[in-house]
Amino acid sequence: HIVELNNMFGQIQSPGYPDAYPSDSEVTWNITVPEGFRIKLYFMHFNLESSYLCEYDYVKVETEDQVLATFCGRETTDTEQTPGQEVVLSPGSFMSITFRSDFSDEERFTGFDAHYVAVDVDECTEREDEELSCDHYCHNYIGGYYCSCRFGYILHTDNRTCRVECSDNLFTQRTGMITSPDFPSPYPKSSECLYTIELEEGFMISLQFEDIFDIEDHPEVSCPYDYIKIKAGPKVLGPFCGEKAPEPINTQSHSVQILFRSDNSGENRGWRLSYRATGNECPKLQPPVHGKIEPLQTTYSFKDQVLISCDTGYKVLKDNVEMDTFQMECLKDGTWSSKIPTCKIADCGAPAELENGVVTFSTRNNLTTYKSEIRYSCQRPYYKMLHNITGVYTCSAQGVWMNEVLGRSQPTCLPVCGIPKFSRNLLAR
């Protein structure tokens, strides 16, 4: 006779309890409670016929695949076991209790009175099976548990492992360092990371794995769990795993994708690689006369830029346009974006006329270039210079006539007042 019980608690008694139980009977109670609970069984009364190893009458408590206990008799001896004050806990949410009495009973045995109750399983403390335990944080609640993850991680759809969002890493610099998440701490599980190195066409990217390389592998099968793959143009390199890093890789491509995948188990420290992008080299440059190139390098390659500037007092001249600096770039075909410009001495040009004054050149043949000097003077005796300055102007490096007092402002000739050339014979006595 089988009784199915689905409540969260209940009472089970031997047939006829509290009267003696009948002989030759067998009743099974199958208790099922929800997942996340287990069953606690305890007896308030137990009185069965005793027999060696309970071969006559007994109460057997078992789960789907194991016998948890077999009770008989009135008290525990070395060959029989009664429940006493003990409770019996089922490992899972199912428990089956079978009462059996054989055909003969010399005495009247009153059988048993048992109670069961569903008790929560604290999955967080009891989970041994790594496959099922939470990856980072476990939160138990009545009837179940859930997992959560550390900051920066996302709970995987298996609701157990924690992964990181790492599918949109874009690297555009010409050099860089890429590592597995949390390197050198173990990388997260169940993650699908994609690192893209995207540079302008003309660059060639080379990769170099460094120090620790530790990706979960398998002795026989090639990288069945976690692996790293490298896609460069049409080529796909890998998958790589294990503890031996791949040799330096020259991808010959300006766009590389690194795919790193981890499954939902394992504690491996991951990997780190550095990459460098180089382009075609451009020919060496000679600085212009009175000029310089910055930065000065032994070689220049694609995308390298140089700034041409001239010494003080000189201007960069390019296509008849004067400028302070001129930038050139090494193109992807290994040629410079432009020819080297020349340096032209700053020329202040003819100085502006001075009202009621004159300008004289103090350098040979009226030079007006950098460091040349001119002198403004006022038409004496009728005008004199305001501010009483020397009137000397020097052609500055910016191509402007400059005076040490007035700067680039022109002097002013003021009329001399009250000093007539002819003085009267003063008649005053």
Partner: protein, 251 residues
């Protein structure tokens, strides 16, 4: 100029002649800086025919109705160094009173400044008041004794008169001598400016700087050269700030 002497050529290069377009001179003036003339405000409007009129009631002389001649010596005949100039704008002193000659000063901005040379040069503005009793020189082409106009520029050398003495001298005639006026001349009369000299320069020499500067401009008087009738001039030092503001010049 009464009882004056002919000016030696080139000794008064700042003096300006205000002349009608027909060549008839009517006032004097002085060159300031490179393009300003200072003169008497009463030169630039018709004479008031009754008391109590304000400047706006009087017919003003339009800038295009007269001209300025620099480098002048002879009154009506032309001179080799003269330069004829047009007036761009007239600035009356804001407190000018045509009935009392208070602040009788005006500035003329020239359309184009004269070329400075030995015979054309500006006068300096005063740095301070003149010394007590300083000798000043007043120049002009105005009437002489017996009301005759001179052939050439005339000048007198007279002392500055104490303001109080001058005020007392004019009190009996009910003439007010205010702070913006300065007097010069001798008690017994004799040398004085006269009609036609108005606006002309009264200068003195700053012996420290060696520069002549403008003390006043000919303004008014009762009769010319009479005893106890000092010449009254518009006092430039008193109105220097206004002059600086309008002309933008310091000195």
């Amino acid at each position: 100029i009464i009882n004056g002497r002919p000016t030696q050529k080139g000794t008064t290069p700042w003096i300006a002649m205000l002349s009608h377009l027909n060549g008839q001179p009517f006032c004097g003036g002085s060159l300031l800086g490179s393009k300003w003339i200072v003169t008497a405000a009463h030169c630039l409007h018709e004479a008031p025919d009754s008391e109590g009129l304000s400047l706006h009631d009087l017919g003003l002389l339009s800038p295009s109705a007269f001209k300025i001649i620099m480098g002048k010596l002879r009154r009506t005949q032309s001179d080799e160094n003269e330069q004829s100039l047009s007036v761009k704008q007239v600035f009356f002193h804001p407190l000018y009173n045509p009935n009392t000659y208070e602040n009788d000063v005006a500035l003329l901005e020239l359309l184009r400044g004269p070329v400075l040379n030995d015979f054309v040069m500006p006068i300096c503005l005063p740095q301070g008041p003149p010394e007590e009793g300083a000798m000043v020189i007043v120049s002009g082409w105005g009437k002489q004794f017996l009301q005759r106009f001179p052939e050439t520029l005339m000048e007198i050398e007279i002392p500055i008169v104490d303001h109080h003495i001058c005020r007392e001298a004019y009190a009996p005639l009910k003439k007010k001598v205010t702070r913006d006026m300065i007097c010069a001349g001798e008690k017994e009369g004799g040398r004085d400016a006269c009609a036609g000299d108005s606006g002309g320069p009264m200068v003195t020499l700053d012996t420290q700087r060696g520069q002549w500067y403008l003390v006043g401009t000919v303004s008014w008087g009762v009769d010319c050269g009479k005893k106890d009738r000092y010449g009254v001039y518009s006092y430039i030092f008193h109105n220097k700030d206004w002059i600086r503001r309008v002309t933008g010049m310091s000195n």
